[in-house]
């Protein structure tokens, strides 16, 4: 276990990712910026939308730091452990965002935890297809939401998920579904050797 978690760089990379997430929560809080938008002249976007990116990237780096030959011998339940890593990272993100959000009484901070779950789920859904390139999926989603997720009156469309309030059942349902699908794909999809897919 200890060797496995060291090989996966959990104590450095993943811990760093969670710390970066906390730092960004405290840094951005409720600050917004007027960003250019495709379909309205500009949209007011909360900067905290970008907070889950370092966490997603760190998680991806951990999951990709495989030792294929050792792992494929089947001594350890690797797929189960991978699921555990993802769930642990997301649980700490949720815990941090809920705690900080309640302390600061700030809804964007509260939503950041749910957003991390959604973006990680999305990333894991694309990973069997795209390999490590799936790490760009959260970035793409955030950029797409910023560029075309808002209507002329500054309201976010339901499909955007990220800027929706925590009470939005639709966004919660999408988030849950994405995470379950992502974890299922991670567990059951065929694995490529890291070296086989052109990076």
């Amino acid at each position: 276990m200890l060797w496995w978690s060291t090989a996966r760089q959990l104590h450095t990379v993943l811990a760093g990712g969670v710390a970066a997430f906390l730092l960004l929560l405290l840094l951005f809080q409720e600050s917004t910026a007027q960003l250019p938008s495709f379909f309205a002249s500009s949209a007011s976007v909360v900067l905290i939308l970008a907070a889950p990116v370092p966490l997603c990237a760190a998680l991806m780096l951990c999951l990709e730091s495989r030792l294929p030959s050792a792992e494929d011998t089947g001594v350890r339940p690797i797929r189960l452990l991978d699921t555990g890593v993802v769930l642990a990272a997301l649980a700490s993100a949720l815990f941090l965002s809920l705690t900080v959000g309640m302390l600061l009484d700030s809804s964007p901070v509260l939503e950041a935890g749910r957003n991390s779950v959604f973006l990680v789920g999305l990333m894991l859904c694309v990973r069997p297809l795209a390999g490590s390139r799936a790490v760009m999926v959260p970035v793409c989603w955030i950029v797409v939401v910023a560029l075309m997720g808002y209507d002329r009156f500054g309201h976010a469309h339901p499909w955007t998920v990220l800027p929706r309030p925590l009470t939005d059942v639709y966004a919660l349902a999408i988030t849950t579904f994405t995470l379950v699908a992502g974890l299922a794909l991670q567990t059951y999809a065929a694995r490529h050797e890291s070296g086989r897919i052109a990076p």
Binding site: V13, A33, Q34, L35, P36, S37, F38, F39, S42, L47, A50, V53, P54, C56, A57, A58, M60, L61, E64, A130, S132, R133, V135, M136, P138, V139, C140, I142, V143, V144, A146, L147, M148, A198, P199
Partner: protein, 432 residues
């Protein structure tokens, strides 16, 4: 490597569908710019379209730059014995990405210009040229970052940071300088406006100097120069542009009047931009009719030799002189509004703060002579807020009706007396 192989191994292969897909969504989801918003002036169309794409393109450049260098490092190309120079190796990997980012900038432009029916000029390419240069800088920054950091961390973090930093530079609150150096040109160009070299240089210098510093850091061998030289370069490269722009307002330095004018007629000679000169006979006739009508009243009105269309000034206004007046001519909505603005300029009083009620009466009186009564009344009514103001307008209308009933000579005398009183400060406007 042959071109197909180079494309097949490049990150462009999987990034292009997404990046160009976004461009397509923009094209099909956006109604084209209205004729009244661009008047066929290509730089306006170009700047409107580009404003959505700066941040996106730079983010793609930085992210894919990381990916490419990490690929070279992963397969040991970067470390292997030098058959070609490192710059050549980097350029080979970066050219496909550069072409992708440039097409992200240029494709929407070509589509928008085609939809607007605007003919692109060399000058309208100033903004794209700046953005394309800044793209190269972001690519280099990404490439250098990917050589030392794991790409899974560096690519998404760099891309999202570039996107948010560049895109939010428009709204940095009271700190204005970021919008002048971020690489995202801060305003949309209006008719006749062009960015000056002075306003484009800070954008290129800021990102460019960081990129140059990153490149030197990678290429230099000696430890001291490797740290000292790039650091100095990056610091001066950030300091010079920000000190260049620190006293600028929200608007960058723009040059105006970049359209040739064509003129027509006498009394007055009317000049409008050449591309809009189909309007010229109509505008000249309307303007001339105002001066003819005013001279019939017997009052000695100001009359210029030349009437210029102030649309070429964009957001700025030119100062009218006695012989040359600058007025909105071609984008006046119809003949009446055009005649009204010429008439208002002709009856303008020679003092700074004339009495409001007197000006109201003079305007109503002159509007009857120039056939702009409907519009004049509408404008006066738009300005009304309080009940007292409404009453004043009613009184003025009644008074002007009385004056119109009088003899020609009486009216001239009334006009002169009222305008003198309006400027004297102690105004007592009545009908004697």
């Amino acid at each position: 490597m042959s071109v197909p192989v180079r494309l097949r191994t490049s990150s462009v292969l999987w990034a292009a569908p997404i990046a160009l897909g976004l461009v397509a969504v923009y094209y099909f989801g956006n109604p084209p710019l209205k004729e009244s918003e661009h008047h066929g002036y290509a730089p306006t169309v170009v700047s409107w379209t580009m404003s959505s794409f700066y941040a996106l393109t730079y983010a793609v450049a930085a992210g894919l730059g990381v990916w490419e260098s990490a690929r070279l490092r992963h397969y040991g190309v970067w470390q292997s014995a030098p058959v070609r120079s490192r710059i050549r190796v980097a350029a080979d990997a970066l050219v496909p990405v550069l072409l992708l980012t440039w097409s992200m900038l240029l494709l929407p432009l070509i589509a928008a210009l085609y939809q607007a029916g605007a003919v692109p000029t060399v000058n309208s390419l100033r903004l794209p040229a700046m953005a394309m240069t800044v793209c190269v800088a972001h690519l280099v920054i990404g490439f250098c970052a990917g050589l030392v950091l794991p790409r899974i961390l560096a690519a998404p973090i760099l891309a999202v940071s570039v996107f948010f930093l560049v895109a939010s530079s428009w709204s940095s609150g009271y700190t204005i300088w970021p919008r002048h150096i971020s690489g995202q040109f801060p305003v949309e160009l209006m008719y006749g406006e062009l960015p000056t070299l002075h306003s484009l240089a800070p954008h290129v210098m800021f990102t460019g100097s960081i990129a140059l510093a990153a490149a030197l850091c990678t290429l230099l061998r000696n430890f001291t120069t490797r740290i000292a030289l790039p650091l100095t370069l990056a610091l001066t490269g950030t300091f010079i542009p920000s000190s260049m722009v620190h006293d600028w307002g929200p608007n960058p330095k723009l040059s105006t009047g970049n359209v040739s004018m064509s003129c027509q007629g006498k009394n007055p000679t009317v000049c409008v931009p050449q591309p809009l000169s189909s309007e010229l006979p109509r505008v000249q006739a309307e303007a001339a009719s105002v001066f003819a009508a005013l001279s019939k009243t017997g009052v000695d009105f100001a009359k210029p030799a030349e009437l210029q269309d102030s649309i070429v000034g964009g957001r700025f206004s030119y100062r009218s002189t006695e012989s040359t007046w600058w007025l909105r001519l071609t984008d006046a909505t119809n003949g009446e509004t055009l005649r009204y603005s010429v008439m208002r300029k002709a009856i303008a009083l020679p003092c700074d703060r004339p009495d409001g009620e007197a000006v109201q009466r003079l305007t109503l009186w002159a509007s009857a002579a120039t056939d702009t009564e409907g519009f004049a009344l509408q404008r006066q009514q738009e300005e009304l807020v309080t009940e007292v103001e409404k009453q004043t307008l009613r009184k003025s209308r009644a008074a002007v009706r009385q004056i119109h009933a009088r003899s020609h000579k009486d009216q001239t005398t009334w006009y002169q007396e009222t305008s003198e009183k309006a400027c004297s400060g102690t105004s007592e406007v009545g009908s004697h």
